[in-house]
């Protein structure tokens, strides 16, 4: 069966290492914060200028001057630092963030990503996404494997305008965990009960399938 939103977040959380500075995009990536494994500490970077994002505030703690990049009210964790947008993107662009997790419309075998613009629809802007994908060494893209109409989002060439070129190495979909290298998707894990055949069928870009593809397990 396809992974639930929570399972996607759980699987991504396994990529976290103790001491990681992590930027989580809006949507499913935000849920990762709920599944940080025992014994591991990470610090969340919010690109509006906060390193060490804490939980949402209680009613009493709400403060208009304390928000995250999703414009939600938040708190600062112990040991947090707060700084300007220029400093925040110096961190991001300079490659100091250990892991970035974000959503996308499409990725392709060359590590290109399209996530911000659908021609013909109203364009609201890229926000910090282009900086995040250009700056990070270690990025996980999370998305559904195919559209509702069954069209693959893992392509030979992205069809939508790009957010970044050649920068994506890991993709987690609702069906599989894949790595991108040498111009192909490499199937690493599949969702519980999802067959390799289904993944092959729903992957338009070149897919390398090893002899054994382990199934993800969830507690």
């Amino acid at each position: 069966m396809a992974l639930s939103r929570e399972q996607i977040a759980q699987r991504i959380a396994r990529e976290l290492e103790d001491g990681f500075y992590v930027n989580l995009g809006i949507g499913i990536p935000t849920l990762v914060a709920n599944y940080i494994p025992e014994g591991i500490e990470v610090m969340l970077q919010s690109e509006n200028g906060l390193l060490g994002m804490g939980p949402f505030p209680t009613e009493d703690e709400i403060d208009a001057d304390m928000i995250n990049a999703g414009k939600q009210t938040v708190t600062a964790a112990t040991g947090a630092s707060i700084f300007s947008s220029a400093e925040s993107f110096a961190m991001i662009r300079g490659g100091h963030v250990d892991l970035t997790v974000l959503g996308a419309f499409e990725v392709d075998v060359n590590g290109n990503i399209a996530s911000w613009m659908i021609p013909g629809k109203l364009i609201k802007g890229m926000g910090g996404a282009m900086d995040l994908v250009a700056g990070a060494e270690n990025i996980i893209v999370t998305m559904t494997h195919a559209s509702k109409h069954g069209e693959s989002k893992l392509l030979t060439n992205c069809t939508l305008p790009l957010t970044g070129a050649g920068c994506i190495k890991k993709v987690l979909t609702d069906l599989a965990f894949l790595e991108i290298k040498d111009g192909a998707f490499h199937l690493k894990e599949r969702a519980p009960g999802v067959s390799v055949e289904e993944i092959i069928e729903k992957t338009e870009g070149k897919l390398v399938v090893p002899e054994h593809v382990p199934e993800m397990t969830f507690a």
Partner: protein, 233 residues
């Protein structure tokens, strides 16, 4: 009175000199840390054909969004816009121009503008629509695009506290784009919640040194919240 006293006592004085067609750089992220009263003053003045450099364009009835009502904005240079219906309408009708700029590039363009750096290279946007028409150059095997800096006729900034010399500190994440905006205006106007005497702010804790600031005014603020999210206590 000291030549360093930057305090003005009315919003008319604060925005005096703003003219049709000027470029205004504004601090703020979403509705957080925006110079809300300076924006309201621009609304009141009715100045037209303005170009705004600001990460966002407010909402329908708050922030820069209120300048859409009388079509005061000609162009937005922003990373994320369209949280309001009027914006969408004017954009689709071709009455409003938008130059979408990645958030980090936007912050750096403001900083560079204030720091006398006319252009810099960044990997952000290479290979995307943002990079089209821009010079591409390779450094250490990686491709970068050249981005030019931004300066404004005015910069409008929201601080927390300022002293009369124009030294400013910001509160929490209301800092965001404000310090860079402050450096990049020919005339920089800062509105704050509290004005203190010189010497009351610790020299090493000042975020914006007074050399960047031309006018300081004390305001009172609504500080509207865009996404009110809470946990159970």
């Amino acid at each position: 009175m000291s030549g360093f006293n930057k305090v003005v006592n009315s919003y008319e004085e604060a925005m005096a000199g703003l003219e049709d067609g000027m470029t205004v750089i504004a601090g703020g992220f979403g509705l957080c840390g925006i110079p809300e009263n300076l924006i309201a003053q621009i609304r009141k003045m009715g100045t037209k054909e303005l170009t705004f450099v600001s990460n966002n364009c407010g909402v329908d009835d708050f922030g820069l969004g209120i300048l859409l009502v009388d079509r005061q904005i000609k162009k937005m240079i922003s990373s994320y816009v369209g949280e309001n219906a009027l914006f969408e309408k004017q954009l689709l009708a071709g009455e409003l121009e938008v130059e979408l700029t990645p958030q980090g590039t936007l912050a750096e363009k403001m900083r560079a503008g204030g720091a006398g750096i006319p252009a810099f290279y960044t990997a952000t946007g290479y290979g995307t629509p943002v990079g089209e028409g821009k010079e591409v150059r390779e450094f250490n095997g990686r491709k970068y695009i050249m981005e030019e800096s931004i300066t404004g006729d005015f910069a409008i900034v929201k601080g927390w506290k300022a002293d009369t010399y124009g030294n400013v500190i910001y509160r929490d994440t209301a800092q965001n784009f404000n310090p860079m905006a402050a450096t990049a205006g020919k005339i920089t106007v800062v509105e704050v919640e509290e004005i203190v005497q010189p010497g009351e702010l610790k020299p090493t804790e000042i975020h914006t040194p007074g050399i960047y600031v031309n006018r300081v005014i004390k305001g009172s603020f609504e500080k509207r919240i865009e996404q009110r999210t809470v946990r159970q206590s």
